[in-house]
């Protein structure tokens, strides 16, 4: 049961493939990527923005696989394009939040003192601030292109990453081997990268997986309040939000984008699980 600290690249892939979650997640992720590439390349049966006045709210058929919405737009093409847009928004937002949040969180937790205090205070300010108001402020002062929506979500999520990264650092910092490394005079960057980062990696990976799917849902919540992706462009969240009043007489407008949201959320989370299993040395030995 000895802990294997050094794992080769091949080893990680190997362990990842051993996890059922990981494999299922990878398949779903692959599916999402293919779908997004199709949408990005324009390989869709219809233009997702084209309105067909002759075919409003058609049920699914051989021409419109997922039916049409109240503007006569092809729900299938819109769903695929929506997947691309939702992924873009959520990946951009979470990458921003994760990079900034993890860096600040680890540094704050490790360095402590005034640095930690400033970071905690500033992150508290943003954390305690109602997300909707923040989003409104950003949208009102910058506009609401997709990257501004991403920025709004990123700002809301950064403090979460700060906390998630800082918590474990506080507890790892007090562990004997870190204390020993410090006494031995190892440099801070070396301790941070060699010892602390690997130890906070697992919770952060879980957090990233969770956040990616949250971001998609947050975007849909913003869309519900009219602050997210703007029509006629489609995001999965906006489609679900727009389809709410239609669902009673055109179920396909709600069901298909909801199904795709489920696939994205489930897929991202399973990938997160797989990654955690593969990257965490302790879990691997079991």
């Amino acid at each position: 049961m000895a802990k294997k600290k050094e794992v080769s690249q091949r080893g990680a892939v190997h362990y990842y493939l051993q996890s059922t979650s990981g494999v299922v997640g990878a398949v779903l992720l692959l599916f999402m990527i293919i779908v997004s590439i199709c949408a990005a390349m324009g390989w869709l049966p219809h233009n997702p923005l084209d309105q067909n006045i002759e075919s409003l709210l058609h049920a699914p058929s051989s021409k419109f696989w997922f039916g049409t919405d109240d503007f006569g737009r092809d729900v299938f093409s819109r769903t695929l394009d929506g997947m691309r847009r939702s992924l873009t928004v959520s990946i951009t937002a979470v990458s921003l939040a994760a990079i900034v949040g993890i860096t600040l969180g680890i540094l704050g937790g490790y360095l402590g003192k005034w640095f930690d205090m400033v970071i905690t205070r500033v992150s508290d300010v943003f954390f305690a601030f109602p997300a909707i108001l923040l989003a409104l402020a950003i949208v009102a002062s910058l506009g609401n292109a997709w990257y501004e929506t991403s920025l709004a979500i990123a700002i809301v999520y950064t403090p979460i990453f700060i906390r998630v990264a800082r918590g474990p650092v506080l507890s790892v910092k007090e562990m004997d081997y870190i204390k020993v490394s410090r006494i031995l005079g190892y440099s801070s960057p070396r301790i941070l990268i060699k010892h602390i980062l690997p130890n906070v990696f697992a919770p952060i990976v879980v957090q990233i997986a969770l956040s990616l799917s949250w971001a998609i849902l947050t975007e849909s919540g913003l869309s519900f309040l009219g602050l997210g992706t703007q029509p006629p462009n489609a995001s999965l969240g906006l489609m679900v939000s727009d389809a709410q009043p239609l669902a009673a007489f055109a179920w396909w407008t709600l069901v298909f984008p909801s199904l795709f949201i489920t696939i994205v959320v489930v897929g991202l989370n399973l990938v997160g699980d797989g990654l955690r299993d593969a990257l965490d040395p302790a879990r691997r030995s079991s």
Binding site: L49, D50, Q51, I53, L56, D70, F71, G72, L136, V139, A140, G143, N144, L225, G226, L227, Q230, P231, P232, Q244, P245, L246, A248, F249
Partner: protein, 505 residues
């Protein structure tokens, strides 16, 4: 484990059944009507009311000199008869006898004078001051009031309708009590009881109402923020009346409810700021106008519930929607106009929209964008929240905007403020001309309907030929009631005054 499960199931079931029984409408003798509103009222001063909820709730408590009926005819309110002098510069009104305020004091000409003076005083923030700004002086004696005007203004009669023209007690005005919760005192069919901020406004019937005591005992306006939830409340039987604006929600209204679909005076338009490039070029405006099929906008954005209109929606002077350049979409002409304007390869512009304002606004934006794309015109939607929209709209800080504007029963009150060079919203309208100025002055002065019809036809033509704005359609308004609510008559002005005749059984 199994037993525990059973207990849980039984428990949940009991709770649900008990809940259903508990909230099932009780067979009470008292007739209580609950009206669902999405936004709370925001003041108790009727003359300053602007939000729909406030206008509707206070409209039941206060009365005005004249009323606008279901066919948009002007009919007696607190005034029973009236007449203009030949020049149209003096309006004499005779007041109803025996009307009492809800606090028991009698209503007479001094109250009218005090109320109108209060509206005219800029310090009082009255919403409709501009509509009666031509009043030079008011003389009152007994039940007779004479308004002397600065210029001929026959349409001012119609402007005396509505909650913004509410008649207040001169004692309340003198005491500075108007708008305070303790002294909501009108002449309307219902009396104010309480206002629970964010939750509800309660009214009770005014037995001494001049039009006869209402059959309903109480009317409660309850705040339920989404129209879908209001519809659910109607289905659950906890709300009996609601005004719905979303055609999609209206589509879900089932046959166990009564729905009144009526065209209102409000209209949707693509407002153009013709003083800004590229829209200062008439050909650009005409190109946009020709690239749009209004019928398609109605079909998609409003689920088919709306009628294509011209500038004037006032029934007596309604513009003919066919009398305009390109009454039907004409892409060839649109391209020709674009080429003439110097944009043979199309152009890009921004349109300001506030989708939270009205359910169909976002849809109109999407429909226009897709249609204009076919003519090579790229329309970018600049989406803002309500308050931002209003403040940028007022500052004329937009090239184009999709607006849901209220209509008036007289075209003069409707458009003078927009399209005369001295109108207080002319900056927002973005267009004026000497021809329009003189036409509006003539319209004001004339008392003859035939003459006025010709004048407003000319105004319509002037606006359309210059594509001052692109007028789109008039949305339908939906009022939904429970089946046991009888006798409701919808008014195009949006007022719920006819609840005074409504019964529940």
């Amino acid at each position: 484990m199994k037993l525990r499960k059973k207990i849980a199931v039984v428990g949940v079931a009991t709770a649900l059944v008990a809940g259903v029984v508990l909230v099932a409408p009780a067979q009470a003798a008292s007739k209580d009507l609950v009206v669902g509103i999405t936004l709370d009222i925001d003041k108790l001063d009727p003359q300053g009311a602007t939000s729909f909820s406030t206008v509707r709730a206070l409209g039941l408590v206060y009365g005005s000199l004249v009323e606008v009926g279901p066919k948009l005819q002007i009919r007696p309110g607190l005034a029973t008869s009236w007449g203009f002098n030949a020049a149209g510069t003096e309006l004499r009104l005779h007041l109803r006898k025996g009307v009492k305020f809800q606090d028991g004091s009698a209503f007479d000409a001094t109250d009218v004078k005090a109320s109108l003076d209060r509206i005219l005083d800029p310090a009082n923030k009255a919403a409709a001051r501009a509509n009666i700004a031509t009043i030079k002086s008011i003389s009152a004696s007994g039940l007779n009031v004479t308004l002397t005007l600065t210029q001929p203004n026959v349409p001012i009669l119609a402007a005396l309708d509505g909650v913004n023209m509410a008649m207040l007690s001169s004692t309340d005005i003198a005491a500075g009590n108007v708008g305070k919760a303790g002294s909501v005192n009108g002449t309307g069919p219902f009396k104010f009881v309480s206002w629970d901020a964010g939750q509800s406004v309660k009214l009770t019937k005014n037995s001494t109402y001049w039009g006869g005591a209402p059959k309903l005992d109480t009317v409660t306006f309850r705040v339920i923020p989404t129209e879908a939830s209001i519809l659910s409340a109607l289905n659950a039987g906890t709300v009996q009346f609601a005004v719905i604006t979303s055609p999609l929600v209206a589509k879900q209204v089932s046959s166990n409810l009564t729905m009144y679909k009526t065209p209102g005076l409000a209209y949707m338009a693509l407002q153009i700021n013709a003083r800004q490039a590229p829209f200062n070029n008439l050909n650009v405006r005409l190109a946009v106008q020709c690239a749009i099929s209004r019928a398609e906008v109605v079909k998609t954005a409003a689920s088919g519930d709306g009628s294509v209109i011209g500038p004037i929606t006032s029934p007596a002077y309604k513009s003919d929607p066919k009398a305009r350049p390109c009454p039907e979409v004409d892409l060839v002409k649109a391209k020709a106009y674009l080429t003439a304007a110097g944009y043979p390869n199309g152009l890009t512009f921004k349109t300001m929209v506030a989708p939270t304002q009205q359910a169909t606004i976002a849809g109109i934006g999407q429909s226009l964008k897709s249609q204009l794309a076919k003519a090579g015109i790229t329309m970018e939607l600049d989406v803002v929240d309500d308050s931002t929209f209003v403040s940028r709209w007022l500052a004329a800080d937009f090239g184009t905007a999709i607006a849901n504007n209220g209509g008036k029963i007289d075209p003069d009150t409707m458009y003078t403020r927009y399209f005369t060079s001295t109108g207080n919203l002319n900056k927002v309208a973005g267009y004026s001309s000497a021809t329009l100025d003189s036409l509006f002055t003539q319209g004001k002065a004339s008392g003859s309907v035939t003459q006025r019809t010709a004048i407003y036809k000319a105004i319509s033509a002037e606006l359309e030929n210059n594509a001052a704005w692109v007028w789109l359609f008039a949305p339908l308004e939906y009022r939904v009631t429970a089946k046991n609510v009888t006798g409701f008559v919808p008014l195009a002005t949006g007022s719920l005054l006819e609840l005074r005749k409504v019964d529940m059984n």
